[in-house]
């Protein structure tokens, strides 16, 4: 796998998600994860797309995305220039005295226990994708009943936002 994180500022309109998803399908690009939400401006949404590039070039993905009329700006983020986070909810099987061990692991990862039944514990994990992966690896031995992940979201470490950069680029043309 060759994963790249794209932060895509789009117009907040019906059908934009379909356009992006359709473009990925039609051009043979693989989506590893995709998260969408509103931004500081109600007219714009931000999509954080993690693409898995096998044969296709990242450049083509970015250029094709830029051709969509409703897309304002596409940026690629690397670890260095962006903060990346993911949220996961993990329901873990806890037989006998395993509950204490699961809670201990959750503590080590600074996770919260958000649900409990007589035979399961639900853990809320937030962190970098690596941290979430590491947690899941440890929890596997207990048996994961259910798992929900948000997919990655990311924000640049830069003092300027994607919008300011876009506006600046537009005014300097």
């Amino acid at each position: 796998m060759s994963l790249h994180t794209l932060s895509v500022l789009v117009e907040n309109r019906p059908g934009v998600l379909t356009r992006v998803a359709g473009l990925f399908a039609a051009r043979g690009f693989n989506i590893h994860s995709l998260a969408v939400g509103e931004t500081e401006i109600p007219d714009y949404s931000r999509m954080t797309i993690v693409v898995d590039l096998q044969a296709k070039s990242l450049e083509q993905v970015v250029k094709q995305l830029n051709k969509l009329v409703n897309i304002i700006k596409v940026l690629e983020y690397t670890d260095r220039d962006a903060v990346e986070r993911e949220l996961a909810l993990v329901k873990v099987r806890t037989k006998g005295d395993q509950r204490a061990r699961v809670i201990e692991i959750a503590d080590i990862f600074r996770c919260r226990v958000v649900g409990v039944t007589s035979s399961t514990v639900t853990v809320e994990a937030t962190g970098t994708p690596d941290k979430v992966e590491a947690l899941l690896e440890l929890l596997h031995e207990f048996g994961i009943v259910e798992l929900a992940r948000t997919g990655r979201i990311a924000l640049s470490r830069d003092e300027k936002g994607i919008r300011e950069r876009t506006l600046k680029a537009a005014s300097s043309e």
Binding site: T18, R19, Q60, Q64
Partner: protein, 584 residues
């Protein structure tokens, strides 16, 4: 301000946009829009099938450069436009397609004649929109035209539910468009332009590889200046025939799968390709990894995604062809003046000339044999060349012969379906071309297979008084498929025979109110052409009974390298041309 209906607002918007014609077919959901059309200055051409309306709009756009309008109802009306939209997307043809949609409250309910046309057309349009607020009709139309015509042109669909068309509104024509995510780059980067000219001056075997972008941006004068000032040979792809005059000695005409030996080999042996509004399509490159192996690439295109898509560019230049070619020509002239002239490339130009003399397009027309389609094409060209004539083609063998044997001197005089390869394109596209350029004679060369896919538009031509000449190269076969079966499937002919006689094309033409003519032997060809050209008030259909077995050459088999070009009858390739070798 006076209240108008959404439908009136739509028609007023089209008027404000300067639309002079709509090609369309009415129906339930679009009905409200057809009422104000009665009182409008915009002409409506009532087509017999929505696909015909779509291709007619395309033909109109090809010859005028303006975004053309087609209109259809919801459901099947809209889905019948799908092929025409996909065709226009592939060939970057500016088009605005307006469809009626079922009323908003029942959208999504599987209502009568409902189809999710914005969903269906997403990958085959440049953009599309569903208008849910009547107040947005004018801005949607203005944006649709703006998107269709600027940047890399393409089709835009505007879908409007019936109740939106029936709602009262105030018509306000917006002064500008608001598209924060759409900003095509037009001016080329001057540093890259200088870099490109440096490569041109260093090149020993340069070729200008000219595509449809040159036609779309009306860059022929700039191209002429660049080519002639720099003494740079030019190939014009299927999409670019006429962008540079065929009569100019620097013109090598069409490259690609059925291009001539010189154009194909010039690209292969070049040490520099300057690609201008072309996209390294597989029909031009053949096997991509073996294409022009020694060439550096300057790639000029308004669509950044085309640059580096198929072939890595050494000097990428994003911009409008007209602007960038103008910049290239200015810089080249300036640098050549500093250097004291054009670099000596006489060996290369001499080699190209030699190939042109040795390997022209070739066929043999026996006096007593059946009509060769190339012969009929050539005679038709000779008979029309003294008058301003636009040529339209369908898709297949006849299209390749048309591009090979017709000679083009000007842009926007050639109309065809290049990228999508849409059979049935010629008849409606010729109709649209004639509506766009009523002052110019329009001739279509069509295949018998193609013709039958859209022949119903003959009725439209007769009733709307749109006279064109349609020459069917009737070889009784789906000829190109037959050719592949002969060459690559051991002559096992599967489902390709159509017959010469069904339908009787002369009677069919007459039934549609057109003039039907037929030539069965070579000596009848000129007589029939003369007769056809003497008719000016009606569409003429000529049934040329052609050789059933004729094949298109040269040919680069699909997936093969351009080096493996197969030549025409009686021609043999230089196996190891020592001169060619010494050039490389």
């Amino acid at each position: 301000m006076a209240k108008v209906s959404g439908a009136e607002s739509l028609v007023k918007s089209l008027e404000a946009q300067g639309t002079d014609v709509i090609f369309g077919v009415p129906g339930g959901a679009i009905l409200p829009a057809y009422d104000p059309i009665l009182d409008s200055s915009v002409r409506h051409v009532l087509c017999r099938h929505e696909q015909g309306a779509g291709h007619a709009a395309s033909g109109y756009a090809w010859v005028t450069g303006k975004a053309a309008v087609c209109m259809a109802t919801s459901g099947p009306g809209a889905t019948n436009l799908v092929t025409a939209m996909a065709d226009a997307k592939m060939d970057s043809v500016p088009m605005v397609c307006i469809t009626g949609q079922v009323p908003t409250p029942v959208v999504g309910n599987d209502a009568f004649q409902e189809a999710d046309i914005t969903g269906i057309s997403m990958p085959i349009t440049k953009h599309n929109m569903l208008v849910t607020d009547v107040g947005q009709i004018p801005s949607a139309i203005k944006e649709a035209f703006y998107i269709a015509e600027t940047g890399r042109p393409g089709p835009v669909l505007v879908d409007i539910p019936k109740d939106v068309l029936q709602t009262e509104t105030e018509f306000v024509w917006p002064s500008q468009v608001d598209l924060p995510g759409y900003k095509p780059v037009t001016k080329g980067n001057p540093k890259q332009v200088r870099e490109a000219v440096k490569l041109i001056l260093e090149a020993k075997r340069p070729v200008l590889y000219v595509g449809g972008g040159v036609i779309k941006t009306a860059a022929s004068p700039e191209l002429f200046r660049l080519a002639t000032e720099g003494k740079l040979p030019v190939v014009t792809t299927l999409m670019a025939r006429g962008a540079f005059p065929d009569s100019n000695p620097l013109c090598l005409e069409m490259p690609g799968m059925h291009g001539n030996y010189t154009a194909v080999t010039a690209l292969q042996k070049a040490d520099l390709l300057v690609s201008l509004g072309a996209r390294f399509d597989d029909r031009v490159t053949g096997k991509l990894t073996a294409f022009a192996p020694d060439a550096k690439i300057v790639h000029v295109d308004i669509d950044p995604a085309e640059i580096g898509k198929n072939r890595k560019a050494d000097v990428p230049i994003v911009g409008d062809c007209k602007v960038v070619i103008g910049m290239l020509a200015d810089e080249l002239v300036k640098r050549q003046e500093e250097l004291g002239g054009v670099p000596d490339r006489s060996a290369w130009l001499g080699q190209l000339e030699e190939w042109q003399t040795k390997f022209p397009y070739a066929y043999e027309q026996p006096d007593d044999g059946p009509i060769k389609p190339q012969y009929a094409t050539q005679r038709l060209y000779e008979a029309t060349r003294d008058q301003d004539t636009i040529l339209v083609a369908g898709v297949g063998q006849h299209q390749m012969w048309a591009s090979q044997y017709w000679k083009f001197e000007e842009p926007r005089h050639w109309v065809n379906s290049g990228g999508l390869g849409t059979m049935g394109y010629a008849v409606p596209a010729a109709m649209g071309a004639k509506v766009g350029r009523p002052d110019v004679r329009v001739v279509a060369i069509d295949g018998d297979g193609c013709f039958q896919m859209t022949a119903q538009e003959l009725a439209t031509m007769t009733t709307e008084n749109i006279p064109v000449v349609i020459a069917i190269m009737n070889n009784a076969y789906l000829g190109m498929v037959r050719q592949w079966q002969e060459l690559f499937y051991n002559e096992r002919y599967s489902q390709v025979y159509l017959t010469h006689d069904v339908p009787d094309y002369v009677q069919l033409a007459e039934a549609y109110g057109c003039v039907g003519l037929r030539a069965e032997v070579p000596e009848e060809v000129d007589t029939v052409i003369d007769k056809a050209l003497s008719v000016e008030d009606r569409t003429v259909v000529i049934d040329f009974r052609c050789d059933q077995r004729e094949m298109v050459f040269p040919m680069v088999p699909a997936g093969a390298s351009n080096d493996d070009i197969i030549l025409g009858p009686g021609q043999e390739k230089p196996m190891d041309d020592p001169k060619a070798a010494s050039l490389a």
